[in-house]
Symmetry: D2
Subunit: 399 residues, 4 copies
């Protein structure tokens, strides 16, 4: 075992950290309180800086215009970027575009890559992933009602989706739709690319989340597909492979989410310590002298360390043995790290007192907008059951 | 011991519950997403209905135009009203006006009552309480920098306050200010009534809280007092009695907050159960079949029951033995009930999945806006220490 | 609502408390480390003192030689007695005899009362309750394999039981046995009185529990019934009523257990505070100055208060509306109070440091021997499900 | 980063695991319920087997008769050995002898090594470490009252110690004693080797712990030193270096404890899963189908994985950067892993129901005897404060 991190990676992380602190953190107040659209021009400047730094699209293979970082390296970078809500966006590795780039690169045809992947990789367009439906529990991934029926050279799509993140302004959606209703449950769905300018594609609204109306990239939309017609060439991968592609996307995707959450934890930890070290309860008596605050700091430190090691280990296992072999580890980090995230942010808020609930720090944004971490990409409860059932099978339990 | 509730109180609570469900719950969407100012006319109509129901200002003595409910009765009503963020407002027993009415009735001069109390009780004006300062830790109640210096028949007030709830639109502030800087710490401050239209009173901003900009009653302001002059007759009670009056206000005030929180818990519990009973994970298989959800329901039920009994017991003790005798109980409910509140709302959100973080239910508002419950009126940590030190003294510990 | 306790009850509790501290606490070291048999003569002396105090068999109706305390009064007494492991025994209201006396008084024939109840009430014999079976999950109360087959005027009983508490030295067992295997699940079992001197009744062993071998009353036995024959007149109540009688026994029995646990909590709380107030971390610096210790004290105080109020409320509801109406409350206290018990004892141990794990205090006994509280009389998990399903039904969930 | 484990280490661990399951697990019932002395002959046979396996004293340098495993390798072995309470003893790397061997090897003179280290390494004698005193809080390591006064070529030692593990039958004690009372607090104490057959050394008793009387190696003794005289050549290291040597011992020692606890966690996890997979709640319906049980399994798996990674990372850091550099990590694992240990064992017991509290499984032994993990070698609270203060200093807090 070797826990060392190569010095060039350490240098890259330090550079990125400095860049974010100097250039991106100062934009957070506008990000939290204003419209995203108003911030886009400024963010484009920052994106230009990232290109100069040769760190643009770090996870994208060089052939499509990215840096082509290794999986572990990008995981480490993802933590650093996660310290601010705009980090991944500025580097063009934000969800859901990053995931879409990944599956387009892996499963897309040459034509699909040219039409959809290259503009994404270049930061010239955005995209969304339309999977969850209001009528069907998202925690049951094989239950959905949106259908695509083949009609000649076209698919005709009908259905209702929501929580399609970043759909507002997206050039296309990758939609999970039932193409083979009579197949075995995990083989009923396909992924089809739907440009958002086709007739019948209806963007209903941005769903306000935790008091945040949402617009542009940081938004979650409700969509309807009403007799939407797309050419069959827009099918991604095989018909019936929708679930398999989603799994291929979600496994590594959870690593990135988890590392991003760890970035949020570290940012919150820093804010907590800084506040405790400097805020006085009485002249000369800083808050950090209180043992309760010390407990929170210590517990947070331990839990964040634990979380990072688990995620890096899971990433290492994916890298060395494949996503399938790492399935227990992936489920474990999904719920464990989300729990740490909630706990650390909550403690940091409490240390800040009234300031902590105000929008004068970024903590309240994390508290609100990251509450979903325990829900999306499989709620805690589903991942626990997945993990436990695998363990129980190895002890002889049948069903 | 007798846990029964008189049938007339039960009837009143049932009537109020029905009124809220029918008339006030439907306004919540506007309350959460729009400006409060736009809602005021509609709320005035509801207030008129409450007057017709003879339940206006339920806690206010009849001589000032209220119902004059007993302390325990009002506590029970407070739970019912707490089920919706506008409940107390519609009945004119909302913080901070209710507390201000209480101390004006108890400590105010006849002139003060006429000028300040009666309009409040009639719902013709609003008020705020200016205590917390950004530069001094709110958890140390005897440390503040705002001063009032006597100059002839006037006090000259200078200082900086924040989290003065409902200051936006208030007719006057009750300000905690240091009048006797050389006295023993608990006797340095006084409470002085400051009309908001006097020169030097500066309303700086509504502090956005958890993504909520705030306006009118539901807001938290930053204020500055710059050589504000008020007549000495605006002093509330004795000079140096500011802390004592604050305690007189906060003791019973914590009962009302706690009962309000229990109302929020019950509302969240209902939403959780309703969702669990009806949301299907697969056709015919409701979420309520999941043991984890059952655990959350059972634990919430037990904790809410515990919370209510503790608060009613503390209220009974205040009623029978006085606030001082009930100090341990008051500290205990402050942190215990706030903890239950956070836990129950969080579970209800998790049961709702993506819907739970959306603004399509009221749960997210509770999650965000009630996070302060663990902070205001003394953070958890302070109340725990207060309680523990009293216990330890009874076992012989000296300091 | 009225939380006051009549002064005569307060006096009785104070007297009992003093008696226990002076006469029974000093026996704890022998109780923990020696054989129970050696302690019996001394305990008989204490029992004689209790008779002099006119508090013998406090819960037993006067016609059978007890005090005939009301249900609420006995609940309060049970807390006081619970402060020491021998409390209930010395007053002759210990499990499982108290429960057996209760069902004999309620369901027993005149002959059964004379033969079995009177000696128990007089403290001349002991008894046990044989329900749990090693082969069937105790958490499924309608699944058992022990059978009683009628053969003329006799039942012939065969089966295997364990965790029959206090069977070692018992004069008779009340055995749950299947008499009607083809009936509806809740009507298959009956309760039959089995004198322990009948042929075929085999006492196998005392099951060591948490390092405690057990003997006499404080023990948990494994038993076998091998063609045991008892007259049909030993049937308690109706054939098939075994489950109903068990419920009648367990409902109020849970009140007594819970109040006993609260007594343990209060004892542990006192030990914790005493230690914190006097143990120095450095000269002049008691442990009670540490905020973590203060947190534990405050949280324990709040939780114990909550627990007591919930149990007394459940008792009051049983008294006023019957056991069935209080079923949710009974389930709630069963798991809630057991959880508080574990938490409080654990904190008290931690405050004692190394002393806390040593047998030099009673805390370690509570830690070990009361761990079962979360398991017996229905594990936490079962009670949570029971409570939740009732709640969900009221929101329309069907199964 | 590389999480792989060399195949030869994997093979060693697999061999050891098999040996323990086949040869040592079967002795556990005798270990838990009988006298250790009766078991010693059998354990000697097992020790002989270990020598044949060439794994005797795995952590001891080859020059003293051990295997000389690297630090990380021994950490991994320690987990495997920790699965049974006798594991380390059978391999001769049990506390406190392992720690004593370590400091003798590092700080001992040639004569000390010959007289004290070699017999220990050969398994021909046992030893103890006498540090904690009943009169001084063990959590304050620089406060002790036992003194050693130099008198010519001898030290004269007086004092009172307790929780000197394994003192019963030890050939010598390493005693922490104050030699320089006027020095700076961390330089007052020295470590002196005291043969147990010298006049004035009084073994008082084995302190019963959690119902376990203790004898021989698994025991915790109370000792008195009454004018004990030992030659100055028995001083270990420098005068005044007692605290520094203790730190040198405790840092790596905590790694071993933590890995041992992880072994206990894994054993408990296996028992939990096995029970859940096979115990039926009703015919054909295993306990493992219950979501609550699944949650416990999943949470345990995640927490154990986290714990192991943290400990191995801390060990790696000690190995690469030294104990001092790893001080935060060492404090973090001390409280984090102890917490996981308690949680996992507790869940495993609950899954076993009544069987779980009985001595029929090893779980109750872990529950009782490992409760001390949160106390010895620095209680949780001390380690949290240590960690937090270091973090706060890096954010500018001074004291």
């Amino acid at each position: 075992m070797d826990f060392s991190i190569p010095s060039d990676i350490q240098d890259m992380l330090a550079n990125v950290g400095q860049f974010l602190r100097e250039e991106v953190y100062p934009l957070e107040e506008r990000f939290v309180s204003g419209a995203f659209a108003d911030l886009v021009p400024t963010l484009e400047e920052k994106r230009a800086r990232v290109k100069e730094m040769k760190l643009w699209a770090p996870q994208v293979p060089a052939e499509y215009g990215g840096v082509g970082l290794g999986f572990m390296q990008h995981a480490m970078l993802s933590e650093e970027l996660g310290r601010t809500p705009m980090g991944h966006y500025v580097f063009n590795c934000q969800a859901p575009d990053a995931g879409n780039m990944e599956i387009l690169a892996e499963f897309g045809t040459q034509a699909q890559k040219e039409q959809f992947l290259l503009p994404l990789a270049a930061g010239k367009s955005r995209s969304c992933f339309a999977m969850t439906e209001p009528e069907c529990a998202g925690s049951n991934p094989v239950w959905m009602k949106t259908t695509a029926v083949r009609d000649g050279d076209e698919y005709v799509i009908n259905g209702h989706k929501w929580f399609s993140s970043a759909a507002d302004g997206a050039a296309f959606a990758v939609a999970m739709v039932v193409t083979n209703p009579d197949a075995e449950p995990h083989q009923r769905a396909s992924q089809i690319i739907v440009p958002t300018d086709v007739p019948g594609y209806r963007w209903i609204r941005n769903i306000p989340v935790m008091g945040h109306a949402g617009d542009g990239w940081p938004s979650h939309s409700e969509l309807r597909f009403e007799n939407v017609r797309v050419p069959v060439s827009n099918l991604l991968g095989e018909e019936g492979a929708g679930f398999a592609i989603a799994q291929a996307r979600l496994g590594p995707g959870r690593i990135h989410h988890c590392m991003r959450w760890i970035g949020i934890c570290e940012r919150s930890f820093d804010l907590m310590c800084e506040r405790a070290a400097t805020r006085e309860l009485a002249p000369g008596d800083p808050l950090g002298n209180r043992q309760t605050v010390q407990n929170w700091i210590a517990e947070s430190r331990a839990e964040i360390n634990a979380a990072r090691l688990m995620v890096l280990h899971a990433a290492w296992k994916i890298d060395n043995e494949g996503t399938k072999a790492a399935r227990e580890e992936i489920s474990a980090i999904k719920f464990y790290v989300a729990g740490v995230l909630m706990a650390v942010v909550d403690r940091a808020i409490q240390v800040h007192g009234a300031l902590g609930v105000s929008d004068d720090t970024i903590l309240q944004y994390f508290y609100r907008q990251e509450r979903g971490a325990r829900i999306y990409d499989g709620p805690d409860e589903v991942h626990k059951t997945v993990l436990a059932k695998r363990a129980l099978r190895s002890f002889g339990m049948k069903k």
